[in-house]
Symmetry: none
Subunit: 188 residues, 4 copies
Amino acid sequence: MARLKSDEKRHAILAAATRVIAAHGLGAPTALIAKEAGISNGSLFTYFETKAELLNQLYIELKTEMGTAAFDAFPSENSPREQLRHVWTNWLHWAVTDPKKRRTLAHLSVSDEITAGSHQAAALAFGEIAALVDRCRSGGPMRTAPLSLVLTIMSGVADAAMDYMLRDPANADAHCETAFEAAWRMIE
Amino acid sequence: MARLKSDEKRHAILAAATRVIAAHGLGAPTALIAKEAGISNGSLFTYFETKAELLNQLYIELKTEMGTAAFDAFPSENSPREQLRHVWTNWLHWAVTDPKKRRTLAHLSVSDEITAGSHQAAALAFGEIAALVDRCRSGGPMRTAPLSLVLTIMSGVADAAMDYMLRDPANADAHCETAFEAAWRMIE
Amino acid sequence: MARLKSDEKRHAILAAATRVIAAHGLGAPTALIAKEAGISNGSLFTYFETKAELLNQLYIELKTEMGTAAFDAFPSENSPREQLRHVWTNWLHWAVTDPKKRRTLAHLSVSDEITAGSHQAAALAFGEIAALVDRCRSGGPMRTAPLSLVLTIMSGVADAAMDYMLRDPANADAHCETAFEAAWRMIE
Amino acid sequence: MARLKSDEKRHAILAAATRVIAAHGLGAPTALIAKEAGISNGSLFTYFETKAELLNQLYIELKTEMGTAAFDAFPSENSPREQLRHVWTNWLHWAVTDPKKRRTLAHLSVSDEITAGSHQAAALAFGEIAALVDRCRSGGPMRTAPLSLVLTIMSGVADAAMDYMLRDPANADAHCETAFEAAWRMIE
DNA sequence: GATGAATGAGTATTCATTCAT
DNA sequence: AATGAATGAATACTCATTCAT
């Protein structure tokens, strides 16, 4: 019970941080995040020891959520191409559906406050995507490149496409598809 | 006459800012930048009215330098593919040659302090790359996609590759080549 | 509950500001005021959002105190002349009793930081004096002049007398009396 | 010749300071005063060693000018009353004619930067007024009060009246007259 | 636990004054 | 003498974090 309450507030803080950071950047005061979360500034620090800790947790949370969203309704029976397309579409649309999360994640991804450990923890959530990409590229031109390089490049394309979709949401679907075809051509 | 505002000093500040921001992020104190540039903290503000102004100038400078570097020794006589490969290689190696510039530019690119005007000014330096990419994609599968989308995606790949090259500089050349081939496949 | 913003501390700051400004003028550093008040420099800003805010509050406080002091032990039964003499004496002696308050108020009265609102708020404290002066001048030569002009002039005389009393405190009582008789002659 | 040029610039600076201080208060940057005077910021200090020096000179200059203005077209033949009325009218109208000078003088009069020496130097310019007032009060109720007290109080009335006239310039003449009659009643 | 006042190090910017040209 | 860049001390205000209640 007590635990439940804690988790509730923890998430309230994380959600508030997402909103506030999207609007004010990483320099957003913890006091503002606390107020947005409906708690006192002091209380924030019983849930996260430091601001850096909060930022790291938020990074892991958002990245994990993005990775998880990508596998929503995963079509196990389909071809690898269709599977990747499905994952790709989920992935990119997550950004358009919740631009604040995407924006905050963009801020966090580039921050010096995020530790190597957090980056690793977040990478875990992309293990399945990694495996899928590995399967997809196995017969193609990038079959001998380091998988991590392939993944880095795919993420680069995805990030770029997200930005573009956010700038022109009306045609988001088309851009998403264009980007997928381009990405697919890289590996197959 | 009195001492004239020297371009030399201006560049010393910009160079110092590049180093300091690479190390400390955008939160780096102006006083530290000034000291690194060998001038007094007050003097910095005779060259840049405001920290934000300095950041914007630095952004434009670095981005322009990157764009210019890409066209170094441009092989006008070669095929589009070879031209793009040349540009691509210059481009990505600029990041490896001067990792601090790349790192600082990454910080700046994501900052809220950089105005739309600065982004536009910087985009100018990429006009030739845009034209080249446009030529290269003209017969390929992305011929009907918005050029800006194609460019955004290409930049995404380039950025991702730079990051990877920086993490594994020993094989930077190979990664650069792998990335180029992947990028080429997207458009041709 | 946490520690509550204490009125005690608020007044400590105001009192410290009075002392420090009397000595250093309006340019007195907030840090010095804070130290004099026995709090940290940051704490000052939990009680007053801004230095200007502190100055305005102090102005209202001092002016109100001065107006209130003038009506101390007010002899309701006496003649208007005796009432005014009583008020006048209280008024002028307030300055001599607490020269720092008078000095600080002189600084504040002339400052651009004091808003029209603060001037109005402070004027409230002089409503009774205004009424009394109005009664006193009603049968005399200034009966048709704008009351506000009469009050302005009376204040001018009072201010001048205060200054003089401060320069020669040994004969303050006599000077106060001389000034009162002069002021009385103006209106009756 | 060289001397003339100097004097010209000296006065340009003093005039600029009057304007700038009227608008921005005593905190006005010397650089702004210099620009307004049409010289470089550095040059200002060849005419006045320090800002405080400039302020003191300006104080003396303005106060002297005010005192001198009061005796303009002095009617030597008239009665003391008419003489005082003439001086009084000149005096108060100086403020209305050139509100910036009056405003700046008000700022300076209250400043800690003005030395006792400057106050004395300025007082010199009021010697004639003092003598006139002395003559006027010689047969009246303030004949035994310290002359300096009488003068202080008269100045207080004058200052108050100036302020009022500045707030209601349309009726400045009437207010000036009202104030004179009041002042006269004090001494005669 | 929760609250929010208290703390004080940290920072961009200003400005009188100096000095190289 | 004039210029205006250089200097660096000075200062209001912010904010992560602590701690008394």
